[in-house]
């Protein structure tokens, strides 16, 4: 029996000769990461257990991105603790505001994630890096403290589910819609403990930014990881960001899967996840007369340059509805600068929107766009749980950037075609 790409990567990070799904392994970590929310717990735990020296100061990333620029004194103190730790242990990959970006957009952009890597992060959306053909998974702070001390993590080798996407995507449909459709189909625990392997002709021609969006939301189906076999599109991306050697692994033709799902995507419309679960998904045409108070375009799911371009294409020459706040947040400083060069910022500002510094901010109800009681937002983020973006009686609808932009103009959830044919 052959191996899946996930099994191949995991095997290479152990001293074993063979592994199989369900087995517990201790695996060596190529890169571990934490943010201003999760790092403080990890630091406290590691130091409480006698940390004198980290396993490798070049394999630890610390990215204060959640409540930054610091939203209050407690948040500032947490960021300060992370900064002091980075200094004390000479952590190479620490990013202060101004060089910081949302972790899952920033690290690939800096060339720190390579195909075939094993990446562990104290953040649930660490699964994003599967888009580059790496194994990556989210854990908690104590696991991270364990990695600081030993460089290793315990993992149960996951079974894989293969998702085959067939057909040709319609205009305004992308990675976000594919993953929302998938979560709707299998449910919020449909892939619990499993690796989600995305393949098929749609994926083979899908741009990198869309691949990141898909793998990013594997966790919303309970997935341990999402992964896409690296190909020419992956190679083009990594050649732009690094000259490091790369390892392209592929699943064997006789690899074993716990399930195989096939979707014909040719007639797929843009999708919207209604409150209060990411699986509560409907095509945008079925979301009628849903007025909104706020539209958020950003996050580790959809704050990349192609997301901003898609939104700007809709917004250009239009005005944001007078009842709506449009908040656009580039995921990193490099994306910010690119948006500036391309004139995208001007488009958003002239239309009556705001353009923010990179932050996770509103996605998790931190700052930069909190909802009042009874308010409703459409957002390109990843979770629409009760109270996620503010008051427990507010609502979040999840969509792709073009839908969020069209909705900002119409003042209600709208298909991009209603604004731009």
């Amino acid at each position: 029996m052959g191996y899946t790409i996930t099994e191949k990567i995991l095997l290479r990070h152990t001293d074993k000769k063979a592994i199989s799904a369900g087995e517990f392994i201790m695996a060596a970590v190529d890169l571990c990461l934490a943010n201003d929310i999760t790092a403080p717990f990890a630091i406290k735990e590691a130091e409480r257990h006698g940390l004198k020296k980290v396993f490798d100061n070049k394999k630890i990333a610390l990215i204060p991105d959640h409540f930054t620029p610091n939203k209050d004194i407690n948040s500032a103190n947490q960021c300060r603790m992370v900064k002091d730790f980075a200094k004390k242990y000479n952590i190479r990959h620490y990013y202060e505001v101004g060089r910081m970006g949302i972790e899952h957009a920033l690290l690939p952009e800096l060339g720190l994630i390579m195909p075939g890597n094993l990446v562990i992060g104290a953040d649930s959306h660490t699964c994003t890096y599967g888009a580059l053909g790496a194994f990556s998974s989210g854990v908690g702070s104590t696991d991270l403290a364990g990695i600081y001390l030993t460089g290793k993590v315990w993992l149960k080798v996951p079974e894989s589910i293969k998702f085959i996407f067939r057909g040709k995507l319609k205009k305004w449909v992308g990675g976000k819609d594919l993953i929302l459709h998938t979560i709707k189909n299998i449910g919020v625990e449909g892939a619990n403990y499993k690796a989600m392997e995305f393949t098929g002709e749609v994926i083979k021609s899908l741009p990198m930014d869309d691949r990141f969006s898909m793998c990013n939301m594997a966790i919303e189906a309970g997935g341990k990881s999402g992964i896409i076999e690296p190909d020419e599109i992956t190679l083009e991306y990594i050649r732009k960001v690094t000259s490091k050697k790369y390892l392209f692994l592929k699943s064997d033709s006789d690899a074993s899967y716990s399930d195989v799902k096939e979707y014909d995507c040719s007639s797929l419309e843009p999708q919207v996840a209604l409150p209060h679960l990411p699986s509560n998904v409907k095509p945008v045409s079925e979301c009628k007369n849903i007025n909104i108070d706020q539209a958020v375009i950003g996050s580790c799911t959809n704050g990349r340059i192609s997301d901003l371009r898609a939104a700007a294409k809709i917004i250009k020459g239009n005005k944001v509805n007078s009842r709506v706040r449009l908040i656009v947040i580039p995921a990193t400083q490099a994306i910010y600068l690119q948006a500036l060069k391309e004139g995208l910022i001007e488009i958003f500002v002239k239309a009556g929107g705001v353009f923010s510094t990179p932050t996770c901010g509103p996605c998790l109800g931190g700052h930069m766009g909190i909802l009042a009681k009874g308010e409703r937002a459409i957002s390109t983020t990843n979770r629409n749980f009760v109270g996620r973006m503010g008051h427990p009686e507010s609502e979040v609808y999840l969509s792709n950037p073009a839908v969020a932009a069209a909705s900002a103009i119409k003042g209600r959830i709208a298909h991009p075609g209603e604004v731009k044919g």
Partner: protein, 160 residues
């Protein structure tokens, strides 16, 4: 032996329900505990007595990786969570931090709010004193049992 009163919750209780993100600017277990389950039930924390047990449906702890979730549950006095299933990261965070968790397909449907429960962890036996019934929870894999026995992940790693 663990003994406490049952507090019932539904399917898909997420980590934002357990502890909302607005409270993640602290790592203090007492502060986190004082806001536990606030969105779902603002009276919950006031009703919990030390040693009590949360009983929930499937996919408990889905969502973010915040370890603040098991810490908040412990912080408000919850000793153990019984659920039909657990989301992956919450499961490992609980094992790593010493919040007791038990998986049982039938117990959550049978237990009512306020039932008195008694748990023998080694045997995975849940006794419902109020109703006079016994349920058996799924056994932990040996590897995880070793982490639990060591008193959490970091103690386990030190022993290795």
């Amino acid at each position: 032996m663990i003994k406490g009163m049952a507090h019932i919750f539904k399917d898909n209780v997420n980590t934002d329900d357990i502890i909302a993100a607005k409270y993640l600017n602290t790592t203090d277990p007492a502060i986190l505990g004082s806001h536990c389950m606030e969105t779902l039930d603002p009276t919950f924390v006031k009703r919990v007595k030390p040693g009590d047990i949360v009983v929930a449906g499937k996919n408990f702890g889905c969502g973010s990786s915040r370890e603040h979730a098991p810490v908040a549950l412990k912080g408000c006095g919850i000793r153990c969570v019984i659920a039909k299933s657990f989301a992956r990261i919450f499961f490992r965070n609980s094992i790593n931090t010493g919040l007791l968790i038990l998986e049982s397909k039938d117990a959550p449907d049978d237990i009512s709010e306020g039932d008195e429960l008694e748990i023998e962890l080694e045997k995975g036996r849940i006794r419902n004193i109020t109703k006079g019934r016994v349920y058996i929870a799924a056994a932990f894999p040996k590897f995880m049992q070793e982490i639990v026995n060591a008193g959490g992940l970091l103690n386990y790693l030190k022993k290795e």
